[in-house]
Amino acid sequence: MLRYWDETAGSDGNTKPPWEQLIAALERLGKRELAARRAHARRIIEENGVTYNVYGDPRGAERPWVLDTIPILIDASEWQVLEAAIQQRAELLNRLLADLYGPQRLLREDLLPPELVFAHPGFLRPCHGLALPGNRYVHTYAVDLARSPDGQWWVLGDRIQAPAGAGYALENRLVMSRAMPELFGEFYVHRLAEYFQAYRAALAQIAPAGCENPRIVLLTPGPLNETYFEHAYLARYLGFPLVEGADLTVRDSRVYLKTLSGLQRVDVILRRQDAHFCDPLELFGESALGVPGLVRAVRAGRVTIANALGSGLVETPATMAFLPGLCRQLLGEELRIPSVATWWCGQQRELEYALAHLDQLVWKPAFPGPADTRVDMLVGDTLTRKQRQGLEARIRARPHRWVAQEKVALSTVPTGDPGNLNPRHMVLRAYAVAHDRGWTVMPGGLTRVSSRGDSLVVTSQRGGASKDTWVLAAEPTPFVTLLPPATSPEEVSRRTASLTSRVADDLLWLGRGTERVEASVRLFRAAFQALADEPLRVSDLPAPESVRLIQCMGKIPSPEETPGSLQERLLGALFDRTIATSVGHSVGEVHRLASVLRDQISPDAWRVLGRLDSAFIGPSAHPARRVSATLELLDSALLRITAFTGLVSESMTRGLGWQFLEIGRRFERAIQVVQLLYHGLLEGLPEDSRRLELVLSVADSAMTYRSRYQTSIQLPLVLDLLLFDELNPRSVCFQLVRLEERFSSLHRAPLEELRMLLERLRTAQLDELIALHAGEDGRQTRAELARLLEALDAGLPALSDALTHAYLIHILPQRQGPSFRPAKP
């Protein structure tokens, strides 16, 4: 029977005083209150959209982050030991890289086997011999720590390629301070803000010489990456633009950010993209991702990348086997915290030992494979005899590609309720950042716990939870915020952040999407209101006018496409995301865009869209739902959309981002009104006042009409209100006038074309329409109206395209290389 170290126990076997104090505080809160707090924490996480993407999950993979509301406590003296060890190890790995990408003395002196460099696909030869500022390769470092049954700390792994998780640690702290505020009164907990302050200062320091006010960007692989949430979160918190490879370009060996206001120089890149994919020209011959010419810019010393390209090399667990000797050689001291016992099988003796103990060890590839063939670790004692034989054969065929490690009996921490505490195994990920005088360690970290009590596997990929990590201080810690102190007076700044073309494009489509959802929801609400009044019991009864309007507008799939009753098809058109024209599909698209734009829109606005999205999925969206419940859902959906547009108009600065969001909304609203008028007034429906009333109410102008005219509803007045009235925020003319304002401030917008369309609308004389309407049968009115609406229907999307072409051209790069096919002899 394995025994584990209990994090709450002191050396005397009794519960340590701080843990006793914590458990007492939890008990005082009581079971009921704790359950409420846990629910609160879960809600905050959901609303903040804290997610972790799981690779290979067919359901789209955004998994909510799981936080256990009992923190882990680490006292000051213990932390001091860890802190010194983390600083030592970070610097050791940095010096190791400086040698491997420089003189390679350590290989000649036999302190590291040459295979671990030369056979490692992460040894990026184009990055060898580059003169980096301060000869520094590692700027930010993360390390996984665990404790064995005797209380000894061990290092399980080093993270340098893209040291993830610091943002989640910060988010955990923020959630805890809201969900469990009184616990912070019990202890002096080290704050995390100082660390991020140091982090930002450190990145500003490493800019190439001569950069007064360096521009720092965070380079992300994009929304599909497992920790994309964190990239957006950190970018926002630190105030760096979040960019993808296609947002950057290299000109004359300098890196520039492509923004709407032109190219802007980039001095420092905080890299969360694997180095392989950073420069398709020099680093990975098969990919078109990344920034062609980036290595050239580094070579020319015109940009600093943190961590340096190629630094992922020493992440291999094989390196661990050689760190004690390397530490003595490079730092002249002993390694402060040992690595978990590691056997690299490229050595004969180690190979034989490890194979003799195959079933007791954990097996890992020494070198990372291509991303699509990621090999997880193999745990010897979970393999069948046949699997073990197969593994041995694979290892013997290519022994230098394998590493065996001891299985650590991870220590346990309590999770759950005070009355019902469950021990779970834990791993602590700690963080450090380099500055010119050494390393600053985050006083805290990300503690992850196993999902089951009997599992020693701790990974977010398999659904384990996390905990806030409290490093206890002897006295209160000063309050630090990332906003600069009041003592350094700063000029009033009205400058708005520059906007990348990609982000502008996404904002435009977010604006269009929200407006499209609003228009559809209003339409469907009218239909369900009618259904509530006269349920569709018998199929041969004529459908309500509103339902037929939806049919006219092509928003319900035909019975041939989707069999089922009209009501079923109506619900399908509303909720079924597999139908591209469905409202649910549009809602999903809006949510996707919003998640890409996390660093552009406010957390409140994001929350509103998150709730809108979840209303349209899940059990509540089931077609079996009754009409009244659907109506309720549509009502609340409408409220959320208006809450979003309200937040945008009240809280978003009038920068370029707002301009594009606004342009998208105005375009789509104009398009939707034109289509409503076209289908509602010219097609299919009988000409009576009910039709006019329906159009007015779907266009949200019924009240305006009633307050203005006491008469019955008349076609010319409706047209005036929805087409020409510059004061009605729902009219087409209103949208075009707003677009004209926006276009006037954008130099490359197709302003002239817009003005021509506006002119066409204004010269379509209302008087003539009325006169015609009064004529014999109104046929000419209809023809004139149809021509106008068709001109708008064609003109608006063309304008939107012209704007896109002027500003937002997005072409992905393609690779080219000569085919190496000599002619036949």
Binding site: L281, Q816, P818, P825
Partner: protein, 311 residues
């Protein structure tokens, strides 16, 4: 032998290409056996910037960028190179191949230790027991390395079928080994993979071979055409002490003397592909490559690096 070498690569795009970043291993390497008298590089349209540096393996690399929209790009080098046949004098002292394998890690000879870098897998060249097994008949215990290499070079030539249609750049060498056909690049990658799997250093050589219709051939009465003469060629360089790196051309079953012109060497094609690039726009592209390697008696009037590029 003095050669005038012309190497031209022309890209034609179906639509306008805008930004284009390119990297070429197009500048012939200078070695003891190869003297570069003159070199001209022409890029059309004119690039916004051109620069040259040495890569990790000491090859000259040229990188250039086009920023103006273009529908064609033509990269042309013209060089005058004097090639000397290797002085294969110390070959009879070649040690047993296993002795060479075990000497590499002794760190006595810096050149041998440097050669160690060429014994592991690389992007286009896998290693493993199946490759060692194929090579094994040429490497019986204690056989002199040189004899083993020549025998193995001949075996690949005779056991593989040269077929430009059978493989692509993406064909892995285990498939080449299974199906026994390919082009010079596949021959070279396969031979390298086999030698490395035995623990022997081997590197990939990119270069040219003397054009088949060169009049000098007729004059010398040599009717034999060398395979690979109309485009870039590829062969192998194996670590063969005490001589050093010995070139082997398994596509033509010979040890290159003065008919091969060296461009660059690396671990495999990926390290030294003659020209690669990343382009925005352009739609579909077609590539046309022309290589002409002709013996000549005279150098052109002006010597020294070309003024047009500053290279």
């Amino acid at each position: 032998m003095l050669y005038r070498v012309v190497h031209q690569t022309r890209y034609t795009y179906s639509g306008p290409a805008s930004t284009s970043h390119n990297l070429g291993h197009l500048l012939p390497r200078r070695t003891d056996r190869q003297k570069l008298h003159q070199l001209e590089l022409r890029i059309d349209p004119s690039p916004t910037d051109v620069e040259s540096y040495q890569d990790y393996f000491g090859n000259d690399v040229v990188v250039f960028t086009l920023l103006e929209p273009h529908e064609q790009m033509c990269v042309r080098t013209q060089s005058w190179i004097e090639v000397t046949a290797p002085a294969l004098t110390q070959l009879d002292t070649s040690p047993a191949w296993e002795e060479v394998v075990s000497s590499l890690r002794r760190r006595e000879d810096p050149d041998a230790f440097a050669a160690l870098e060429m014994i592991w897998e690389s992007p286009f060249v896998d290693t493993g027991p199946e490759f060692a097994a194929y090579a094994r008949p040429s490497f019986p215990p204690t056989r002199r390395l040189l004899d083993a290499l020549l025998d193995f070079n001949h075996r690949i030539f005779s056991e593989f079928h040269y077929d430009p249609e059978a493989t692509t750049l993406a064909t892995p060498i285990h498939k080449v080994l299974q199906e026994r056909h390919g082009v010079c690049q596949d021959y070279a990658h396969l031979m390298i993979g086999c030698l490395r799997s035995l623990g022997l250093p081997a590197r990939y050589v990119s270069g040219y071979i003397r054009s088949a219709d060169a009049p000098a051939d007729a004059a010398r009465g040599s009717g034999a055409e060398l395979v690979g003469s109309e485009a870039s060629h590829a062969w192998v360089s194996a670590w063969c002490p005490p001589y050093g790196w010995l070139d082997l051309d398994p596509t033509n079953d010979l040890v290159p003397s003065d008919q091969h012109v060296l461009l660059a060497y690396g671990r495999d094609y990926d390290d030294v592909s003659p020209l690669k690039g990343v382009t925005l726009g352009g739609g579909k592209h077609t590539i046309e490559v022309q290589v002409d390697v002709r013996p000549t008696q005279t150098l052109p009037a002006s010597t020294g690096p070309s003024a047009s590029t500053g290279l």
